[in-house]
Symmetry: C2
Subunit: 111 residues, 2 copies
């Protein structure tokens, strides 16, 4: 029996892990949720507030997917990274660093 739905994620016919990951992260709000969880657990309602405009329907669907894939877990403190999820979460920090550099360069090129 194959790993949950890992073989039939949207747009991913190959079953290659990177494709499944890109597919999941490429859904609206997934990256944002990962970002918001970067340094503390958050409840469902906390996440709704932090993300501003996310609908509960979509939030629930993203959280379910992240849980199914064991990237986050849910306990009494709220939603938080699993051990492996934390390593992916660390990439969020890299993206943040890159984005600052990017923003300053874009400003330069249009000064």
């Amino acid at each position: 029996m194959p790993v949950k739905n890992i073989d039939k994620a949207r747009g991913s016919t190959t079953g290659r892990p990177i494709m499944i990951l890109l597919d999941m992260l490429g859904k609206r709000w997934t990256l944002r949720i990962m970002w918001e969880l970067r340094d503390r657990p958050l409840t469902f309602r906390d996440l709704q507030k932090q993300c501003g405009d996310i609908s509960p329907t979509t939030l629930n669907s993203r959280l379910r997917e992240l849980r199914d894939f064991e990237i986050i877990s849910h306990d009494t403190g709220g939603y938080c990274y699993t051990a492996l999820g934390a390593e992916l979460g660390a990439q969020m920090t890299e993206l943040d660093n890159w984005s600052r550099k990017w923003a300053s360069q874009l400003n330069d090129s249009q000064a």
Copy 2:
């Protein structure tokens, strides 16, 4: 004059670079396009083939956004990373590494 549309990206009212980045990467196909360009330039039609199911409408819209933000450029060889874009592209490799570890752990947990 502010940087192009950097202040009014979808879901991003703050103008914080990370929000704009997450917003852009969170649109379907953006990450996939970055991935496909990781080690060589590709033409519009190459990208269509590599991505399998992407519609030309969507592809064009993503390429335009990536170009506007100076992450990719387009010359006679096709679409490819800018210098800064290449640094973001390098993150794709990190995601790939993570995804392999992830896949093997998911398999273990369901063996």
